[in-house]
């Protein structure tokens, strides 16, 4: 029984935002399916925690410190990367802010992290041919901004909608190198990002009841989607935004 269309053996995969939440879970899951994983994040200590949890089926894992919003760090990261078969761009942030408080500064802060950083990384990985022919790129977007428009999520949702848009253009353009580009649009996933206190724990518990499948997502729900998109099982899929939200946006 070695049939496994989701195997990542022999693939080298970059995961950004790998020090917590969806990024951390994705990095670990990729290692369990045999990938060589390159993890990157800003915080050395937390990145090391992820690195220590990687399964060593492949022994070539690497960790590279980088702040995705720093052009210097990005360029250094690109120069340090081996050829990639896949990349999962998880680094991001969120804010809950009614639109009337969404000043240019608030939008800029959100777009710098959620839009400009991953888009610039994608551009450089393609231009410098770090992404090999046939590689698969997965952007972590959100149902916010494309499938769901909850009050208070406008600044965040707009940054993720813009990311989804670039994902589709990149899918068209990069197809010439058989590079696939897809995104995952998660609903609320239980990660440190949603426990910042703007929304109380009581409100979160109440909100989770609105999900048809009865709970918020877990990081592994999203990591499993990323595995599908990285693996050869999705060889004919590109430009797709995969909604994983427990039925919330139906």
């Amino acid at each position: 029984m070695d049939y496994n269309p989701f195997s990542l053996v022999g693939k080298t995969i970059l995961v950004t935002g790998a020090s917590s939440g969806i990024g951390q879970e994705t990095a670990i899951a990729c290692s369990k399916l045999g990938a060589r994983v390159i993890v990157t994040a800003r915080n050395q200590e937390r990145l090391q925690e992820t690195f220590d949890q990687l399964e060593t089926i492949d022994e070539g894992h690497m960790q590279l410190l980088a702040d995705m919003t720093s052009q210097e760090d990005l360029e250094q990261l690109i120069a340090s990367l081996p050829s990639l078969d896949g990349a999962v761009l998880c680094a991001g942030n969120s804010t809950t802010l009614p639109l009337q408080f969404g000043s240019r500064q608030k939008f800029d802060e959100m777009f710098d992290v959620n839009f400009f950083a991953p888009v610039e990384l994608l551009r450089l990985m393609y231009k410098k041919k770090v992404l090999q022919k046939g590689a698969s790129v997965v952007m972590i977007a959100s149902i916010g901004g494309t499938h769901s428009f909850m009050p208070g999520n406008g600044v965040y949702g707009a940054s993720k909608a813009a990311l989804n848009s670039v994902m589709k253009y990149a899918a068209r353009e990069y197809a010439s190198r058989k590079i696939r580009v897809n995104s995952i649009c998660p609903g609320m996933v239980d990660t440190p990002l949603i426990h910042r206190g703007t929304i109380t724990e009581e409100q979160l518990a109440e909100d989770a009841k609105k999900y048809p499948l009865g709970r918020y997502g877990r990081p592994e729900d999203i990591a499993n989607g990323a595995i599908y998109l990285l693996s050869d099982a999705s060889s004919w899929l590109t430009g797709h935004d995969l909604v994983i939200d427990g039925g919330f946006s139906i």
Partner: protein
């Protein structure tokens, strides 16, 4: 910061509630118009006007506008 300005800024987050109803002793969560979006607006207003980040639980734990004012004042120091 003074309580009168705070009450005015607080009241500005409401659309249909009579301004006369807003005093330091107003139990704001009992107002008909109160909603989760109003709570988000109050948090954002406090950040904007007073440069203080309060949490949803600060609102939950406050009964009157005075209670919240004191939380913001304490964090400013």
């Amino acid at each position: 910061m003074n309580i009168q300005d705070f009450i005015e800024n607080f009241a500005a987050q409401f659309d249909d509630t009579d301004e006369a109803l807003f005093t330091a002793e107003t139990e704001f969560k009992a107002l008909d118009e109160w909603s989760s979006l109003t709570a988000l607006s109050i948090i954002a207003m406090v950040d904007d006007e007073y440069d203080v980040i309060i949490k949803g639980s600060d609102i939950l734990n406050s009964n009157t506008i005075q209670d919240l004012f004191e939380i913001v004042e304490n964090q400013q120091q």
